[in-house]
């Protein structure tokens, strides 16, 4: 079985950068080893830190297809694996009326591969080239389905009663993501390599904003990254992720802002804070203090680290 590989970690970093993903070495190493060791990669972290992106970038960098299985509570085999195409089956039965074939023959015809609807897992197994299979938010499915998935990840084969066993021609690259709403089983964890993605550092977030929001000034991007740094130290119901940062940056740009002030923040509050209670906190006197610290730091060109530390203290105090 030949699998294309990506060379070493440095090359993966370059490939990721080329795809517009700002990754650190930790992420690049995890992707690299997942490919080299042929092992699924379990990615955990808060919502909005770019877990799903990893699979997308991996597929683009490997120049292969991405097949995505979005998990939700109640996900069953019919949606994840395969389903029979009942309309097509019925049409065939109609067409064959009066053909004189025995019911057994007809049954064999309509329960054969052409009448199969391939859902993501079956697609991944039967793909002509090893694809990237993204199992998104695995923590949402129940234990039973998790056990089923674990079996699939070990054997890479599935059995359809009417057809028989289908074995994977090319073992897919697998990325599983979890928001940790439920503890995953130890067995599943041990099947995977592990990557935890934290919220980005100030430098990383700044780089992401500069790259992903065309036309934004460095001054505004720095203010945004510093602001988010302060926001994440707050005690919030829903901490904004990178996706929120980008939405917010785009909104500020649309409003033709080149710096942060109270009015700009208040008008765009909904991009960052998705809970009423969080918005109330953000609107409070905290906001003026944070904006003052950021403005001072930029005007005086003082050490950014000192300003970030002050911002964190502001959030706690």
């Amino acid at each position: 079985m030949s699998r294309p590989t990506l060379g070493d970690v440095e090359q993966i970093l370059a490939a990721l950068a080329q795809e517009g993903y700002i990754a650190d070495r930790e992420i690049a190493t995890a992707i690299y080893l997942s490919i080299e060791l042929h092992k699924p990669l379990l990615v955990e972290g808060a919502a909005g830190v770019g877990k799903t992106e990893i699979a997308k970038v991996m597929a683009r960098a490997l120049d292969t297809d991405l097949i995505r299985l979005q998990c939700y509570e109640g996900l069953d085999v019919n949606t994840a694996l395969y389903e029979w195409n009942y309309q097509k089956q019925m049409l065939r039965i109609r067409l064959e009326e009066g053909s004189g074939r025995s019911p057994e023959e007809k049954e064999q015809t309509i329960f054969s591969e052409p009448f199969l609807l391939r859902r993501p897992l079956l697609q991944a197994i039967t793909h002509p080239r090893a694809p990237v299979l993204l199992v998104d938010e695995i923590d949402r499915v129940d234990e039973e389905f998790e056990a089923f998935l674990l079996e699939l990840l070990s054997d890479w084969q599935i059995t359809i009663p009417e057809i028989g066993t289908i074995r994977a021609q090319h073992v897919p690259y697998v990325v599983l993501t979890s928001n940790r709403t439920r503890e995953l089983s130890d067995a599943l964890r041990r099947r995977c390599l592990y990557l935890w993605i934290d919220y980005p550092s100030f430098e990383k977030e700044l780089a992401i904003v500069l790259r992903k929001v065309p036309g934004i000034s460095r001054q505004l991007a720095e203010q945004i990254a510093a602001f988010l740094h302060a926001v994440r130290a707050l005690d919030l119901q829903k901490v904004p992720g990178v996706a929120e940062t980008l939405d917010w940056s785009a909104a500020l740009l649309r409003l033709h802002r080149d710096h942060l002030d109270r009015e700009a923040v208040e008008r765009t509050l909904g991009c960052l804070f998705k809970h009423h209670e969080d918005q109330r906190v953000a609107r409070g006197p905290w906001l003026d203090r944070v904006l003052a610290v950021i403005a001072d730091a930029q005007r005086d060109g003082q050490s950014l680290q000192a300003a970030l530390d002050r911002l964190e203290r502001l959030a706690r105090g």
């Binding site: 070493d8 190493t29 080893l33 060791l37 029979w84 129940d142 130890d186 964890r189 935890w196």
Partner: protein, 383 residues
């Protein structure tokens, strides 16, 4: 580099062993992965070496901190592994001895009749009123309550499953079977095949307050827990006062008297003060894996917490986020004039789906009725 690779392998094996000794989920499979990973990275690069081990050995976020600490200690500031003394094992849990103060109050229940009341600790303001309910329990009433508990347990603990089974009539068509029938008859649909979703059981996690302020209810409560565990397969039971003890095993003993005996030996701080928040936090840290979207958490407590309210609030928030449903039974709620105003209760309430009293038979009947009306509905109920 050849000769060194052998010793490196030994060190990686030893390193994994130490991780395992510190509770990290990490066996021979992980060690083998780590060694394969090391072959794929540039070993001269210390950071590459560290990341290769970090990606392959630990599997959960909690273990990353353990890994980081041990990595520095074991491999030192330089890439070369550093000598360390004989490996220290995490201290074994000292055998829990029954507290001389607490044990009798448990052990007594099996023999004692309902007249033998316990003293209500001083800091509960509603002592006399609430005590009355329980002192009036007679044996036949206890029987009735046990039956009701079973009915409640069934309500709490069932849900619709993913698997389906055949059914004569239902709203779910079984297309696969219908088509087969269709073929057999060769014409129009002679018969529709139906399926029904199987009813599956929820897991129930029971957290029962056995602190001093709850003492008068304890006899009843343990019976409740015992009956619940008997009725359902998947119950995990814990009792807490200042700390938490898992009692699932002890309560599996038959008969009840025997279970109570074992229980009294296992629980170290029976009828002490109450630290609800700390106890719930302990539960989350040690047994958090029990919680998922199909777990019902049943907390039985009067909400008198002598610990930090914020600790309680955060623990409740996390439980609520991770469990299917949170039910809080408060034995004091039935007392006339009682308002759930204790600070602990106030902090916990926003995270509770069903808040009900459990002070007498009628209140349990009410609870059963509410649970019957909705199978895991979302609305918060106050009884």
């Amino acid at each position: 580099m050849r000769p060194e690779l052998g010793s490196l392998t030994e060190h990686v094996v030893e390193f994994s062993r130490r991780l395992r000794a510190r509770g990290v989920l990490c066996g021979p499979g992980e060690t083998a992965d780590a060694l394969r990973a090391l072959r794929a990275v540039n070993l001269v690069d210390r950071e590459a070496f560290r990341l290769a081990l970090r990606t392959t050995l630990p599997h959960r976020r909690e273990d990353l901190a353990v890994f980081d600490a041990l990595f520095d200690a074991y491999w030192g500031a330089q890439a070369g592994p550093e000598r360390e003394g004989p490996q220290e094992r995490p201290e074994a849990q000292p055998p829990v001895e029954a507290s001389s103060l607490g044990a009798p109050s448990v052990r007594g229940w099996a023999e004692e009749d309902a007249e033998g009341e316990q003293e209500v600790p001083g800091y509960s303001p509603v002592e006399v009123l609430s005590r009355k309910d329980f002192s009036s329990f007679r044996e036949d009433e206890l029987d009735l309550i046990a039956r009701m508990v079973v009915a409640i347990a069934r309500r709490i603990a069932t849900r619709w499953g993913r698997r389906r089974r055949r059914a004569r009539r239902s709203h779910l068509l079984d297309m696969r079977r219908t088509l087969r029938l269709h073929l057999r008859w060769g014409g129009e649909f002679p018969e529709l095949a139906f399926q029904r979703r199987k009813v599956r059981k929820h897991r129930v996690v029971l957290l029962c307050d056995v602190s001093g302020s709850m003492d008068v209810y304890s006899r009843f409560l343990i019976q409740f827990v015992y009956a619940l565990q008997e009725a359902l397969g998947r119950v995990e039971s814990f009792v807490f006062s200042t700390s938490l003890t898992r009692v699932t095993e002890q309560l599996r003993s038959r008969p009840l008297r025997c279970a109570l005996d074992r229980l009294s030996q296992a629980v170290p701080n029976w009828s002490g003060g109450t630290k609800i928040g700390t106890s719930l936090r302990q539960f989350l840290d040690r047994y958090g894996g029990l919680l998922d979207r199909h777990t019902v958490v049943l907390i039985v407590s009067d909400g008198w917490d002598t610990g930090e309210v914020e600790v309680l609030r955060r623990a409740m928030q996390e439980i609520r986020a991770r469990a299917a449903r949170v039910i809080w039974l408060n034995p004091l709620l039935g007392s006339p004039g009682y308002q759930p105003l204790t600070r602990g209760m106030q902090a916990a309430l926003p995270y509770v789906h069903v808040f009900a009293s459990a002070h007498n038979a009628d209140s349990l009947k009410d609870l059963e009725r509410v649970l019957a009306r909705r199978r895991l509905g979302q609305a918060t109920r106050r009884l």
